[in-house]
């Protein structure tokens, strides 16, 4: 009797039992890795949104519609636009505590040359910008030319291809890194390109633009606060001293998302804990039942000369092999599934969602694998110890 091959033979000989145990461990590792990665992705998406917004304060025209539009653009991915007079840029620069100001221009395309899906166009001024340029520099080292655009990660176009916006063919100069936010669906252009696009949009008869001169309008002003000044204080001063605009600290804008995120993360953590407790209890019961069912088989092994320790280690070995297979499968399906369906998850949650990088993912998968195997081993250990104490003679006589 080959001791090493015996656990494998036992596993293969009972495919239904093996499959049932594998599925239980699969569920355990799937929920742990899936849940952990989901929580990490939500947190990473929020961090990425905060970093990508870049500014301490965003100033927009003082209408309810502007705020809803801005939140829609940033959080919901609904393209929109709103405008205010360009003179506000200089007024805001004079407010105490303001270090840098840079204007941005928003425009929603009607068609992007492929589908009827509108695309959010965000224009920035390369001379003053401090929020978009650092991101663009990572993907494109040069300055953007006229009708050159940089596309967000989710815009399905290749570099050097063209997108038609308001009848103008714009060249895709670069594609930005993924942020897991709605800003991945936007198109970025410099101020000259955006002014040409606004003029072209005006020609198409968009009501909002028909009375406005593209040279005299901006959509929002991004503000960086000087060191030593409080962001909320500066935003408060702007709201008091500059009329017809509203200043929003970016942190306060994403606090709503942070609340939803903490709620969802809490629910996921509770669910993971519940599944693990349930699966641990279930595994203990299953291993105990399995040992009970195989009592005669084990008694025969004992009669054939197998020691108690050998028998216990065989049961443990069987448990470890099955749980390793289940854990490996659970980790693989979980990681692959999250990767494939991350956009669908982001769409359904309506929250920023950015998967961890490969290193973090591999560490999480390894920890999940080890934990799942250890939990299964602990569950089978009790059954193995109980089994080693049974008298084989008594068991074999029971049948007669």
């Amino acid at each position: 009797m080959k001791k090493k091959t015996l656990p494998f033979k036992n596993i293969i000989r009972k495919p239904a039992r093996t499959a049932a145990l594998t599925i239980i461990v699969f569920l355990m590792s799937f929920t742990l890795l899936g849940g952990t990665l989901a929580v990490m992705s939500l947190q990473r998406g929020l961090d990425s949104l905060e970093t990508r917004l870049g500014a301490d304060i965003i100033v927009i025209p003082d209408t309810a519609k502007s705020k809803v539009n801005l939140e829609n653009i940033i959080f919901q991915g609904v393209p929109g636009y709103f405008y205010m007079d360009k003179s506000y840029v200089d007024k805001l620069a004079q407010v105490e505590g303001v270090e840098k100001v840079s204007a941005q221009y928003y425009l929603a395309s009607l068609s992007a040359g492929c589908c009827s899906m509108p695309v959010q166009i965000i224009g920035y001024d390369p001379e003053t910008d401090f929020s978009v340029t650092p991101w663009i520099k990572k993907s494109y080292g040069k300055a953007l030319g006229e009708l050159d655009i940089v596309i967000g990660y989710n815009v399905n176009k290749d570099v050097d291809s063209y997108i038609t916006l308001y009848g103008l063919d714009c060249k895709v100069a670069a594609k930005l890194e993924q942020t897991g936010t709605e800003l991945d669906n936007a198109v970025y252009a410099n101020v000259d390109t955006v002014k040409r696009l606004i003029a072209a949009a005006k020609d198409t008869g968009i009501n909002e633009l028909s009375k406005k001169d593209p040279e005299k309008i901006v959509s929002s002003v991004m503000i960086k606060v000087e060191d030593g000044y409080g962001i909320d204080d500066v935003a408060g001063d702007i709201n008091i001293y500059v009329r017809h605009v509203q200043a929003y600290p970016t942190r306060s804008m994403i606090s709503g998302i942070a609340d939803s995120l903490s709620g969802i993360s809490g629910v996921i953590r509770v669910l993971i804990a519940a599944v693990w407790v349930f699966v641990f209890v279930l595994l203990c019961i299953v291993f105990a039942a399995m040992v009970n069912e195989r009592k005669k088989e084990f008694a025969i092994y004992r009669v054939m000369g197998m020691s108690r320790a050998m028998l216990a280690s065989m049961v443990l070995y069987e448990g470890v092999i099955i749980s390793a297979a289940g854990a490996l499968l659970g980790c693989a399906v979980s990681a692959l599934g999250l990767n494939m369906f991350s956009t669908a998850i982001e769409n359904s949650l309506n929250l920023p969602f950015l998967l961890p990088n490969m290193g973090a993912l591999a560490i999480c998968a390894a920890v999940t694998f080890v934990l799942s195997v250890v939990i299964s081993a602990v569950s089978s250990f009790y059954a193995a110890v109980k089994l080693s104490r049974v008298d084989p003679g008594l068991i074999l006589r029971e049948g007669n």
């Binding site: 589908c115 695309v119 989710n154 399905n156």
Partner: protein, 140 residues
Amino acid sequence: MKRNNKFELTLGIIMTVLSVLLFVGILTFFAPCGPKEDGSFMKCHEMGQAVMWTACAMTLFSGVSMFVPGMIKLVCSVVTVLLSAAAAVLPNVMTTCMSEKMQCNAVTKPLVMVIACLVAVVAVAKIAVVLKNRKKNGEA
């Protein structure tokens, strides 16, 4: 019914159910993007049609493979493997919509790949079982 034949039949049923799921799904709950406001189709429409017809053929061949004998059963299973591989590749080689957030890229593409790969795996398993049974029965 012998145990091996039972297993072969089970694999055939799983294969057919998954093919039907792909066929029904691409027409309903994971269909690609709907038509534009002007009634014309989006770019992913052709991909959806190609997957739909491939899934239709997969359903036919996997269904037939359960009822035909010997060599034809093997041929049907091999054709199902090829068709499912094609279905898995189609969303990646055919044009889809511009934004990764749209239904065709976010939902249709991954689901088609997952289901088609599952059909391929089950079909390969079925081929292995059929070959094993033929060898056991002394068929060439």
